[in-house]
């Protein structure tokens, strides 16, 4: 696996189609950042749906929702397996899971995040108290640590990570907006190839080193995608107090 170390060289691709052109194939393990529909790499998902590789494994907290986001890949019957933590509100996934056409591997959300982090951090796994004594622990090594049962969990890696950031420089140093960070920097670490879809692309030096959430060495390809649909799942507001 070769990564480009020099800032401002060859990571910029003009379109997501170009960035994903040689990446998409049947049976790919795709890591997708975002929480439900919030902060997802929309253009990358659209392009995967258009190219339609089959038998995909999707590693994502929710795998889309309400027929949108990654759920589009489910609707096109491109997905063989989903590794996730929560599937509520995703009728496409529920239907194909019950029909036996999609395998679902549920993880506690913290275990899911840490497995991805371990995958990117070169670790062989970890022991966690989460899930001890539950179905999650079945078939896994359990060890007493400080008198408390801990379950051994293995690392998760992917072939391709598709993540979105608010701003990145041409080396891939990225900053996320608010709660859109979620699993994205972890997945960027844990995949063989990481494609970053970025709202705003800036020259190196424009992001202060202290403000970098994802160092650019984890990013292989960058596409400037200035506008996003930003679908809100539950728009909750409060009334203004009258003056």
């Amino acid at each position: 696996m070769s990564r480009s170390p020099a800032p401002g060289t060859d990571k910029i691709f003009p379109t997501v189609a170009a960035a994903l052109a040689d990446q998409l194939r049947d049976g790919l393990r795709i890591m997708s950042g975002g929480f439900g529909l919030s902060g997802i790499a929309e253009a990358c998902i659209d392009e995967i749906a258009r190219r339609a590789p089959r038998g995909l494994t999707i590693i994502s907290n929710n795998c889309g929702n309400q027929g949108q986001g990654l759920a589009v890949l489910l609707q096109r019957k491109l997905v063989a397996q989903v590794i996730c933590s929560y599937v509520g509100g995703n009728p496409d996934l529920a239907e194909q899971y019950l029909a036996g056409t999609v395998k679902v591997e549920l993880n506690p959300q913290g275990t899911f995040a840490e497995r991805i982090r371990a995958g990117g951090a070169g670790l062989g796994g970890f022991f966690t108290p989460t899930g001890a004594g539950t179905v999650v622990a079945e078939g896994k090594e359990t060890r007493l640590i400080d008198g408390r049962p801990h379950v051994f969990e293995t690392p998760l890696r992917g072939d391709l990570a598709i993540v979105r950031a608010q701003v990145a420089d041409v080396f891939g140093n990225a900053r996320f907006h608010r709660t859109a960070r979620n699993f994205s920097p972890l997945m960027a670490m844990a995949a063989t190839t990481t494609v970053l879809e970025v709202d705003r692309l800036v020259p190196v030096g424009d992001i202060d080193p202290d403000d970098v959430h994802l160092p650019g060495l984890f990013v292989d390809r960058i596409v400037h995608v200035p506008t996003h649909r930003n679908v809100i799942e539950f728009r909750t507001t409060r009334p203004r107090e009258s003056a």
Binding site: S38, R117, A132, T179, R235, T237
Partner: protein, 211 residues
Amino acid sequence: MSWSREDMVRRAAAEVRPGQIVNLGIGMPTEVANEIPAGLNVMLQSENGLLGMGPYPYDDQVDPLLINAGKQTVTALPGASTFDSALSFAMIRGGHVDLAILGGLEVAANGDLANWTVPGKLITGMGGAMDLAAGAQRLVVLQSHASKDGKPKLVTATTLPLTALACVDRVITEAGVFDPAGTHFVCVERAPDVTEDWIRAHTGAPVMFTP
């Protein structure tokens, strides 16, 4: 007269102590936020990556990339921080969250909790519930006392798939406040006009009453 949903939410809010880091589960527990008195300096943690969560935004403040774990749009208060999911669950598993308030399906007298799935019903997944149950310093469960067909939800041993072992410190139902005590529950508070007999008849484990 047993407690209403609003009464239960208010009673749950009374569990919150000044300065605590608190995580509120999806559903009724989310409503507890509205009842926490201002000035307690409580920080709400949302496991999708926000500490210092504020109320729902005004209509013109809505940010699609600022949501809570229930995917509702929220705000960030002064002093808030955002972070990735591994750090968020390090806070939770590492015991840095003082109090979690979650919904429940069954709680056993030894504190075992089942709250994530019912066999035969549509799967939704555990989300962050197992990490919160295993990791929060104190866990309060908000749930109805019995199912709609009268089956007790405070029991000697859970029948539903477990969320975590021996994790529940307190259960708040429409009938009162119950602390798991090993082989029985201790009822520390009764809703008005709920009798000890009603509670005994609707609880699947022995109950002791504090004077």
